[in-house]
């Protein structure tokens, strides 16, 4: 007759069975994180965890003892007591006391988490169907952050990188030692912006603004990865976040670089590009921003996302093709890419879509045509 310790034995055996070397990267527990808030949440988590473990040990101890000794096979005679007001009072009062003891630290931590006053930097975070957009208020810096894990890695055609599904093209750069306020909203459905190491998680709700904050202490510069934490549709699992904490000096330099890059991109749009240049750049833009839905070979995804190979739009009237890529198609998952891609990228990807996979219409869409269409 197996006894009830089997349940503990099985979980212990399980972790021993796996090679001890693999144990190293087995993430067993909540990250302690790098901020004060994440540390106090971790301490709260462990405090309540140990309280539950001790209550469990006491209650299950009594239970297993009684299972072992009070058996019919051991000739135990059943006593008939079934009422004791004293005991009832005891196990109502003691849990209440324990709960109050838990509630006090929990309240202080929660109050601390809700204090979004006197912040140095404000970052507006907007959730889109299946990517995050960041705008640094008052700094005139804003960009989209797309997943860079390739479709080949996802569909097992090539080996998976170290940060599989947790890598993006543009990181959210923040200075350490400063109080940063996040203004979180959404553009379509409900998402949730979550980076475990800094213990920030807040729902992004269309039409409403939620706020949260973080102070990454000095010396904790580095990359912190997170994901969307609220079901938001097909690619809910494919819209990660990479927060890059840098020293305040590096942050200022980064801001200047961002503004310069934006101007350079705007200026480049005025120059002219050859068909080949647009095609090569278009392939790269397509892989990053379009392949997730329309497929690597433009084959589409069943009836959810239309195929581009031989599609009437991609081989038909060019103006309609430009319009749908710039303004999107309301009521479908096809978004407006005008704000997300530069004029050069837009021209390149549309040229690529019109000439790749046998769609060779021979058209070349130039950045100037995109600028005119945007007017």
């Amino acid at each position: 007759m197996f006894s009830r310790t089997w349940q503990r034995l099985s979980s212990v055996v399980l972790s021993l069975v796996s090679a001890p070397a693999a144990m190293a990267d087995w993430e067993l527990n909540m990250p302690q994180g790098v901020t004060e808030v994440s540390q106090s949440i971790y301490d709260l988590h462990m405090l309540i965890f140990w309280i539950c473990v001790w209550i469990g040990v006491v209650v299950f101890g009594v239970m297993f003892y009684s299972i072992f000794t009070h058996r019919k096979s051991k000739g135990a005679k059943a006593s008939q007591f079934h009422e004791s007001v004293g005991l009832e009072l005891l196990w109502t009062a003691v849990p209440t006391a324990i709960l109050i003891a838990m509630a006090v630290p929990a309240t202080t931590t929660l109050v601390e988490m809700y204090d979004t006053t006197d912040t140095d930097i404000d970052i507006k975070i907007t959730g889109h169907q299946w990517k995050w957009q960041y705008d640094y208020l008052g700094e005139d810096v804003g960009f989209f952050s797309n997943l860079t894990t390739s479709q080949d890695e996802i569909y097992d055609r090539t080996a998976k990188g170290e940060n599989y599904l947790l890598e993006v093209d543009k990181h959210v750069v923040v200075p350490t030692g400063k109080k940063i306020r996040f203004l979180i909203t959404s553009n379509d459905v409900i998402h949730a912006w979550w980076v475990p190491e800094i213990a920030v998680k807040k729902d992004a709700i269309p039409g409403y603004i939620n706020e949260s904050w973080v102070i990454v202490p000095e010396g904790q510069e580095g990359l912190y990865r997170g994901q969307c934490a609220e079901l938001c549709g097909v690619d809910h699992g494919f819209m990660p976040i990479v927060l890059e904490a840098v020293t305040p000096a590096e942050y200022e330099v980064w801001l200047v670089d961002q503004r310069a890059a934006a101007e350079a991109e705007a200026a480049a749009a005025l120059g002219d590009f050859s068909h080949e240049e647009l095609m090569t750049k278009g392939a790269e833009v397509y892989a990053r921003s379009c392949a997730a839905c329309h497929g690597v070979e433009g084959a589409g995804m069943g009836n959810v996302f239309p195929a581009l190979v031989g599609s009437p739009i991609a081989t038909g009237d060019m103006a309609a093709h430009i319009d749908i890529v710039i303004n999107g198609k309301s009521g479908t998952a096809m978004q407006a890419f005008a704000a997300q891609l530069s004029e050069v990228d837009l021209a390149a990807v549309i040229t690529y879509e019109r000439n790749a996979w046998g769609n060779d219409t021979g058209d070349t869409v130039t950045p100037k045509m995109i600028i005119d269409a945007k007017q």
Binding site: E88, L89, T92, A103, T107, V111
Partner: protein, 68 residues
């Protein structure tokens, strides 16, 4: 309908049942009396009374815990 005690004594016994509901302990006679007099209907009203008192307790706890 069972005979209705005078307003004040009815309220007292109702309040006592509500408090007992809060801590989950009540003498058997009081419980039998509650049941025989009003049956399940009375238990539901006592339950609602307990719920209201419980919400008031938690709201006061929240207001005292809030930073002002």
């Amino acid at each position: 309908m069972p005979q209705q005690k005078s307003g004040w004594r009815w309220f007292l016994s109702y309040a006592q049942s509500v408090l007992a509901g809060l801590i989950g302990i009540q003498s058997n006679e009081k419980r039998e009396q509650d049941l025989n007099e009003g049956g399940l209907e009375r238990l539901i009203y006592i339950g609602l009374g307990t719920l209201v008192v419980f919400v008031l307790i938690v709201v006061t706890a929240v207001n005292s815990a809030l930073p002002d």
